[in-house]
Symmetry: C2
Subunit: 188 residues, 2 copies
DNA sequence: GTCTATAATTGGATAGAC
DNA sequence: GTCTATCCAATTATAGAC
């Protein structure tokens, strides 16, 4: 085992490089240089560029799901959308490179690892959908009515958060998280 | 002048190829093959790959803006969000490759033509923001209150539409446009 | 486990014929 | 205005030393 976690070093570098140039535009050379390791080490730790980015995306969505789950613990239904939205914005802000990368690649269906990424995407959308459903029921609507809120609404919610978040971080970084949250939720 | 519009042929092929592999992953060779022209013709019609995709993105956002403007004509404030949302979904559905491409590249800030694309992105977000503002006022709120709805809300609205639209077209194509619209707007 | 060196292929772009 | 042929740089991946 390596003295430091080389795998994590490489994954972090891959995120940083791909956030700027996209996955196809990110070269293994530049990733190795950014990580401070030789290119040979990349191929010792990952079978291929595809395998590396499958791992990058898997970890990214996993982190997002975990942040949402953690935020929701013990929160009543009516507060759910705001709290999961805040957790999502927070997670994206903490790693803006990863946010750009996920936004750019989440709907690419041709990759070798598209299936893996799609499951991760779906699990995030499902969590957001559930938050919307819980709030719907807490507002006095029936369970049956809440079931009309599907994963598509979750995907819309996620898209709204990602769109607002990137607009915020890239073009209006002076705004506060609370302000961005208000803009997303008051119109929702 | 060419007998057929070679420029348009090339632009269409570029959209198709880049929708699958991203812009960096789209090779000029494959674009030429898809368009049914020689690679030399690409470079006769466009100065470089960057210039080609600058034109692709410019036309894409222009089409979207035009669709929104056309839909809004003569529509009262309270109906504005639904009508512009429908027009946006319709435009994206009519060219799903372009939708994937715009979603993947809209927040890339390192491109040579990032400034051009950013203006186009901003003009779409502004149009959506205006629709939200008009509905807000039509619902009985003050103009002053409506001004708290900014371009960030427009970006969120666009993100929601793009997220729902791609979820729909890629994974749930059996849904109707009206159904998708309802899912986006009832939770909004 | 990490390095250096290199193989094999593909990429963007250009020159010049027609 | 379009084609074919070609250049050169960059890319993924591998081999083998340490």
């Amino acid at each position: 085992m390596a003295r430091v976690n080389t795998k994590q070093l490489i994954v972090d570098a891959a995120v940083a490089v791909a956030a700027q140039h996209g996955i196809s535009g990110a070269s293994m050379d530049q990733i190795a240089e950014t990580a401070g390791v030789a290119k040979g080490s990349l191929y010792y730790n990952f079978a291929s560029k595809d395998a590396l980015f499958a791992e990058v995306m898997r970890r990214g969505f996993e982190r997002l799901s975990a942040a949402i789950d953690s935020a929701r613990e013990g929160v009543p239904g009516e507060g759910a959308p705001r709290i999961v939205a805040a957790a999502t914005l927070e997670a994206l802000r903490n790693n803006i490179d990863l946010a750009k990368l996920m936004a750019a690649e989440v709907f690419r269906t041709d990759r070798a690892w598209a299936e893996t990424m799609n499951e991760a995407r779906s699990s995030v959308a499902t969590r957001l959908r559930d938050a919307l459903r819980d709030a719907h029921v807490a507002a006095g609507n029936s369970e049956q009515s809440a079931e009309r809120i599907t994963e598509t609404a979750g995907a819309a919610f996620f898209g709204a958060l990602a769109g607002a978040c990137l607009d915020w971080l890239l073009f209006r970084p002076e705004l506060s998280l609370e302000h961005v949250l208000d803009e997303v939720l008051t119109t929702w």
